[in-house]
Structure formats: structure tokens, C-alpha cells
Subunit: 307 residues, 2 copies
Amino acid sequence: MTEADFLAALKALPLHAGALGLTDDAARLGDWVLTTDTMVEGVHFLPADPPVDIAWKLVAVNLSDLAAKGAVPEAVLLSYPLADDAWDRGFVAGLGEALAVMGVTLIGGDTVSLPSGAPRVLGLTAIGRAGSATPARGGACAGDRLYVTGTIGDAGAGLALASGARGAGDLSQEHRAFLVNAYRRPTPRSSEGIALAPLVAAMMDVSDGLLIDAARLAAASGLSVTIDLAAVPLSAAYRAYAGEDRAARLAAATAGDDYQLLFAAPASAAIPVPATAIGAFETGTGLRLTDGDVVVGVPSRLGFEHG
Amino acid sequence: MTEADFLAALKALPLHAGALGLTDDAARLGDWVLTTDTMVEGVHFLPADPPVDIAWKLVAVNLSDLAAKGAVPEAVLLSYPLADDAWDRGFVAGLGEALAVMGVTLIGGDTVSLPSGAPRVLGLTAIGRAGSATPARGGACAGDRLYVTGTIGDAGAGLALASGARGAGDLSQEHRAFLVNAYRRPTPRSSEGIALAPLVAAMMDVSDGLLIDAARLAAASGLSVTIDLAAVPLSAAYRAYAGEDRAARLAAATAGDDYQLLFAAPASAAIPVPATAIGAFETGTGLRLTDGDVVVGVPSRLGFEHG
């Protein structure tokens, strides 16, 4: 089944009121926000990625879902396949570092054995304390602006470099390290999410790609969204890696793994964290692209269809 | 790493107060009890097991951990690897049946793709509402009796029959079906756990084997436990399958996958649910076995070392 077909089938089952119709990345249970994200070797990370970084990323991608709800990270439950000593030790070190830096604790878990040679499958469930407001995906209004925190495309470039899909060319060591670090060690935007939650109309994190996630935000809100590629924020490292022409901007906007916050807010709203206005919502459906004043065709692939 | 080494390493990380030192199957967060259990194809279930039953068992084994805490099942989060249509449809059907029968709802989850040919890894996190008391593993007192609900060994026999490790011989169709069903469709003892929680000294579910789990209960309580094999409750189907001599009783008591509740209570306590007294706690350490009046050697293998 496709993810969409599977989700449609699940929606016919007994759902919790806090499941939000299974349309969101996180659920609401009393004062808590819950999310679960699984990472698979060879799909979500490279076999050669250091285990210390994989542990970090597993915590980060879950806390990114909590950040989009404005929740304060509280605890995580780990599902872990025991492997060789060196890998396990590296994973525990990275997990400890992530917990300490991100201000969250381990509350439980489960260890399993995998058949020999099977790819690692790592699961985490994260629990956060809900703030005064829990933004949904579907709250944007016509006329709202679309904003994104940070820069876009760095992790996609880092993956291409780390996997060897593309050589570093004359990229500086610093720029290469910045991009690979963005892929391996994303930072969940927890404090930004907590600050934004009370005033945004809709919010989600960018995990599958800016364009596909923006299209989902618009669809959940029953609106169309227009994104100006020229406004998409690019890092100096990304520009050094790929340039900043339209092709480079489209590549950044469809790359995924950014873990920035994407949100809708009225044009009059004062945004309390660094963020870039990249588009606007209108009545209608679908995604439109511009590059400054020029209307640009929408690519057939907007990002990862599921992750 | 072994599970014990890995747990020891995790215990040095930032732990939540509700993690109970990672010594238990479930955690406590505010009014909620949390647990996560993962099932791996070829390890926790057979590739030929029907997906409708695997979904059932995934919910059941998690709710069994909640039952041991006397928690009322509230919701589950699913981590699911998308596969072929028929398997996915069977899984959704079994999940729906389990949720409806066990009185719990789906609140969220995540779907992933696995590399071609990789064994399925299915994760569930279950959340229950804590009752007035949340029994730990470590509360038994010297002189307390050890009790178990239901019958022991049925699932182990069912696995041997389902896997073809042992033929059915002259076992009746009814007995064979009962045993295979015990393996594929365990029933979490939720109502029993809720009734028992306020009056037991310690409680856990039997997942890895009666002997190994009883030894864990005793160790967590700083006591020794003596189990009378002659008192271990066996079903009519199990007796028809394996007999009821000492070897058959030892096989039942080390087989695992029973998902019954194992608990300590004072000899004077009135037990409000059907349960069998099978032993007693004393000062000291370790596990002792008797068969009626005869002291029996403790086997080297007490159950599954991790699951």
C-alpha cells in the first residue's frame, strides 16, 4: 500500500480524539503532545553514518515534531536493535549528548535482536508538555504569509556529499562540514516553536521537503499557497555548493531533512524569532511558484513522498 | 552488547524520574503509564504468521505491560513498515479488531519503507491511565505468595506447532487450535491487572518465561523465590500436548509468550481474580524449584534472555 492508502485505512479504525484524524505529525493527550518517528538504515540514514550522529538525529527528528506543536520536550521512549559493541557504544554516547543538549530525558524503551544482516530499524516516541496553544496544520487563512525558520537545502546537500553522490569540488572544508553536519545533526527548533505556537495560524516542520510540506499545509487549510523561490533562505555554504540560480533553489526546496519550522501567520503579526517570509496563502487549491516576478512551473517531484 | 550491558549504559544517561531506573517494562508520566514493545519478523513472529494475528499480538503484548501496572488502556502509537497490499490490509484488519476488542484507540504513528527483503520491524507505544496504585516489580516481601493468572506454556506449545518444530500427533483439532491461538492471539489481562493493582506487593507480566520472570521479580525485591512446579497451572490442551510430568512442567515454565500476570501478595490477601498460588518469597537470593515435596534442580535456561 502507499502511505496515503494505509492512512486512509487506519482512519476507519477506532481513533483517539487526540489523534487529530491522523492528519498531523503529533497527537494530543491531555496536557501532553506525543509523536513517534522511525529511522531505517539504508532509507533514513547511510550504513556508514556514525552511530553517535544517528542517535542524535533520531532524537532531533522527533523533537522537531514536538517543536511544531509548541510543546516543551519532556521524555523519550527508545526501541533499539542490539548490534555490535562499538556501534551500540557510539549510539549510547550520541543519545546521551542529544538528551543533554536538547533538554529531554529517557523514560523507557525496548531492545530487540534483528536477524543477521538485517538493516537497523530505530524507533523513538517523544512526549512533550503542551503549551497554551497547539498549532495544527490546517489553520492558515487566505492572506496569511508563509514563513520558514533558518535555511533550506543544507541537509540535502550534506547527504549528497556524505553519500559520495556528489564530490566536494572546490568547496571549502568549513562549508562541507557545515552541510554534512546539517544532514547528520539537525537542531530541532524547540524554543522557536514554543515562542511561535501562540501566534501562528498553522505550523509544521519541514522534513520531506519545503515544497511538499508547504503544499500539505495549504491542503490541510483548504487553501492554495504561492512560494517565491527567490525568497527561500539559503546558507552561504549552500550557495557555495550549488549556487543560487533557479535550479539550485528548486533543489534546495525539494531536498528534505531540513527540520526547520514552516508556519502561517497574518501579515500584520510580529514574528518573535528569526524567520523568512517566503510566500502567501490564497483561496483555491494547490501550489504555485514564482522566482521574483516570474511565474515558474511546479516540478513533478516536490520532496519525499514518505519518510 | 548484551541487553544488560546496554541497559547499564543507558542508566548513566539523563533519565526521567518516571523511568523507574529503567528496571521495569513501563514508565510513569503524570497520570499516565507508557510502554513500548517492538516485534521483529523471524524473531518475535514467524514469516508465515497471518498479519491479522501479528497486529493483534503487537497490541496485546503492549497492553500486557500496561495491565501489569493496573493501567486502563487509552491509546497506541504505531510504527509500521509499508509492504505489499495483502499484508498491509490484513494488518489493518487485525489492528482494528484488537483496538475494538481491547478497548483502546489509535492516536498516531509513523510509516516507513524497508529495503527490499528486510525483515519487518513493527513498533507500538501504548499509553494507559494510571489507577490509584502502580505496582512495581520490586515490592514483594518475605512470606508473600507468588501467584499467576491463567495457564502457562500454551503459547510455547502453539509456537512449536505453528512453526512445524513439532507435529500435532494425535492432538485434537480443538486442542491444537487452542494452543496456536494462545501463541498468535494472547489476551492482555487488563481487567485483572486493574483489579489486582491496589492489593499486590509486586506485579509484572510473563513474557520471557515463568521462571525467568519470577526470578526477575524476586531479584527486584531483593528476595529469593521458590516455585512448586506441581502447582504451575496447565491447560487441558497443554496436558494433551505434552503431558504433565516434570519435564512437561519445566518446558511450560520456560517457554515464554504467556502474557499472564505474575504477582506477589500476602498469604492473607483475598485475590479478586482467578489466579493460582505457585510459590513463595523468602529472604535470600535466587530461584528454587520443587515438584510437590521434592526439591528439583534449576535448569540452566529459565526463558528468553531478551525479547
